[in-house]
Symmetry: C3
Subunit: 269 residues, 3 copies
């Protein structure tokens, strides 16, 4: 049986979890990775995903994938269902691998045409597998195996129906796009789910968010002086920022809040 | 004089400190490690041990040791007595090394039969050694030396009486085990000092903690729905969890609180 | 044209940013570094510099430089002016490289005789360069290029007038030094801008800080029992500490507060 094409592993493993940094959970997972893939390069994406927040983890993964070396293994453990019947999976994408629970957290790799494989072969797990820490016992050994070049098909059978997250989609309505806030970053910037390409032909826009009407696009975080302004963030989403301030606190808004991006016409607002 | 057997170093150095991540202290220690052991793989266990909390650091170390590659050097710096007469030591265990202050923080390696060596040879230290940052000046150079294969005996003379922490031991009393909460993790899970093996023959149990009587063992964090439940955590300790909630906050309990694990009998509670 | 001498890269890249650890920004930058410098050793100094605090980042960098291997590339991204006309630069020092915005954050390398080069060559940047994330698009590719041995002069033309921070200097006034608090560390220690060498000939001193008169130097953090004491910290600055307590909270003081270090005379205070 000839396996489908897989990227060639480059020895880089990224870690993305909701473990926080207070406990040693992420550290222990790193130990397992280096035990089974000596010489691998371990890279933290973040361990501060809010506890059990599968959607935020998937957003971080989507933002990160294009910037990592081809052949990276992305190990993603946000896993409220650990120890239940939910499967563990590996995803083999065109350029990268993913390993984690089958709860939607690997959606960005699956959406880009990745195929899913169930982590079923006990040779690539710590024995016994605990009921509470699959990151250590199941996902890290599988990620290490992929990083050192084990054929993905050796890990288990294909999964035909992996869980996919359905993200709230922005809706174009004439000269407006109805969207929402996806996340707030460390700087208080409000990142929306409206991609810049949806407003690419417009001369400018106003973002209605809570009580505010925020003009954009600004060229950078400094343009617009001390006022709120909208701009295109580094991952291509429209976001609202406040120069050396905190837009989220200023507006009292966070994830899930509705926004409307309206086309601005010359001469009028 | 022929040296006692030592594990063969694998080039992995784990870091466990109370330095936090706001300052550059841990980063500076990493620089020293790579200066003296180029090519070493540095792995963070955690730097968020509560300041000066030797006991919590030892708990993290005990949980981590079994999962790291043989030949790992565990560099542990929780060191309220830095600059005083307390010794710096290396510990040579069967499978791993430890380096840190002689204040009990390396107890898990010593209890597993490790031998202690005083860090006395100035060749393996930065000169001058400051009074306030032995992690940088003394422990990191010694850890780097071990990682690159220096014989442990070259670091200094044996220490016959290294400091050992005495942990509060759970007490079996008929059909009950008297124990206590050891730590609270990021998810609010209350980890006790009662190992699952003490209740291995029981059909089930109830954990009395504060005002609550918590049934167990649950198979995973989801079983038991929205109620508190007890289960066996990933390091083998009985713990109390609240599904997608925070058991510590719900019960108002933290480290040091007494718990009683009572055998559950068929037909009764 | 023969290039000026440059240190030989050692493959270590340190990261120092104000990105925090909640978002994936630092992680994405790590991906870019490993894409362009496979096998590089990435080391975090800290990502918890207060947002936009160029001065604190420069302090951390100054403390770290002497302890890293020769040939390290220090990638420093604290960049409130991202996307504006401010330049991106590399600095080539005697023993290390720096990469970051030309806003003063690389002052410690420039003060030690480093020469600055503008990051102008598009071959060493991601295309297109976003207006909001030069750490990913401009600085990480340049740092990776230096780490893998690209001649610094290939990155762009020399910069004659890089921005330099002017730090508040301590002033010697007879038997006193007028200084200030530079930063507060995780342990609550108040680090001043007064170097120990300014008081090297004194038998002892008193630090006047807020309402307190704090004696020094203590030999270590434990000397002086439960009282406030002054001592020489690990980077050579006089600092005020409280044993297993928090000097900053006890005194209600933070960065910018004035201190006076007064010579103590035998028989007097």
């Amino acid at each position: 049986m000839s396996a489908a094409a897989s990227p060639r592993p480059c020895g880089v493993i990224s870690l993305l979890t909701d473990f926080g940094s207070t406990d040693a959970y992420a550290g222990i997972m790193r130990g397992v990775l280096l035990r089974f893939a000596p010489g691998a390069h371990l890279v933290d994406l973040t361990h501060e995903v809010p506890a059990h927040d599968v959607r935020t983890a998937a957003l971080h993964l989507a933002d990160a994938i294009p910037f990592f070396p081809a052949g990276t293994v992305h190990l993603v453990v946000v896993d409220p269902g650990v120890g239940t019947a939910r499967r563990g999976i590996a995803v083999v994408g065109a350029e990268a691998f993913g390993v984690g629970p089958d709860n939607g957290v690997l959606t960005p790799l699956l959406e880009r045409g990745g195929r899913a494989i169930e982590l079923a072969d006990e040779r690539f797990a710590l024995r016994p597998v605990s009921a509470t820490f699959h990151g250590r016992d199941l996902f890290a050994p599988a990620a290490a195996a992929l990083a050192r070049g084990v054929e993905p098909e050796a890990l288990g059978p294909p999964v035909a129906d992996p869980v996919l997250l359905t993200a709230p989609q922005p809706v174009l309505d004439g000269d407006a796009v109805l969207g929402e806030i996806m996340r707030v970053d460390r700087f208080g910037n409000l990142v929306t789910n409206v991609p810049a390409r949806m407003v690419a032909g417009w001369d400018g826009f106003l973002v209605q968010a809570g009580e505010a009407l925020v003009p954009g696009p600004a060229a950078n975080y400094r343009e617009g002086g001390e006022s709120l302004r909208a701009l295109v963030g580094s991952a291509g989403w429209i976001e609202i920022a406040l120069r050396e301030g905190n837009a989220s606190r200023a507006l009292g808004l966070g994830p899930g809040a509705a926004v409307v991006v309206r086309r601005r016409t010359r001469g009028g607002e």
